[in-house]
Assembly symmetry: C2
Homo-oligomer: 120 residues x 2
DNA sequence: CAGTATCCAAACGGATACTG
DNA sequence: CAGTATCCGTTTGGATACTG
């Protein structure tokens, strides 16, 4: 495999974007950060129901891609705040489109396969 | 876990969108279909360098979500054509935003960590 | 509080063989 | 051609316990 053409080419914009958000948690974490502006480790964790390992790895990956800032305050108890970089922020329009799409999907699902409770 | 609030709530638009595209191949397959309009099984397979199992499973999942149409022609040799449904098509704006974002990321990466060859 | 370490399960991926 | 089935190794994800 590894045919480096089309989507899989390292210089392909959409392919690079896909790589940047690969994995289950990249987009959710970025979404939370986009909403909070700044969020602490356990804040993100609580909000997403993600495990330590996954959150740590996801944040590391996002840092390496230059999408997330990590600021550590040497206090007791320790405080670490995460936020989006400029490049990270730039994903928000895409996220908004995704949200609109998700809403469309929900609206187009009148059968409500799993929405047997409307006490919402 | 399974705190059904916020992003993880089944009625959350962005959460539902995340679920719909979960997995490594959903977006790439939808992207290929958005470009081709209609594509045959082996066409998608070649373009993405994806295995039979992964492609089959991905297409099934997308069908179940109502995002992809499968049209089978009873010819010899058999021909099966895949295309996006209306709901599937509706993801294109998001995809375009993603592409723009990917381009931004590529442009903002002058160091070219892996682009040691410019004979492209 | 913000992580690491460890172990285990599920998803992913490749090769090969087989089917309609 | 368009899959399905199986085996198997690797990667990713999750639960729990533990550390600075």
């Amino acid at each position: 495999m590894s045919e480096n053409v089309g989507i899989t080419a390292p210089t392909c914009a959409i392919g690079y974007a896909f790589k940047a958000i690969e994995g289950k948690w990249k987009l959710p974490v970025m979404y939370v950060l986009s909403e909070h502006g700044t969020a602490r480790y356990n804040e993100i964790k609580r909000e997403l129901g993600i495990t330590n390992m996954m959150l740590t790895n996801t944040l590391r990956d996002l840092e390496e891609f230059g999408l997330v800032n990590r600021v550590q305050y040497n206090e007791v108890p320790p405080r670490v705040e995460y936020s989006l970089t400029d490049n990270g922020y730039a994903i928000i329009p895409a996220l908004k489109e995704f949200e609109k799409w998700g809403q469309l999907l929900l609206d187009a699902k009148p059968e409500a396969e799993e929405g047997e409770n409307e006490n919402d």
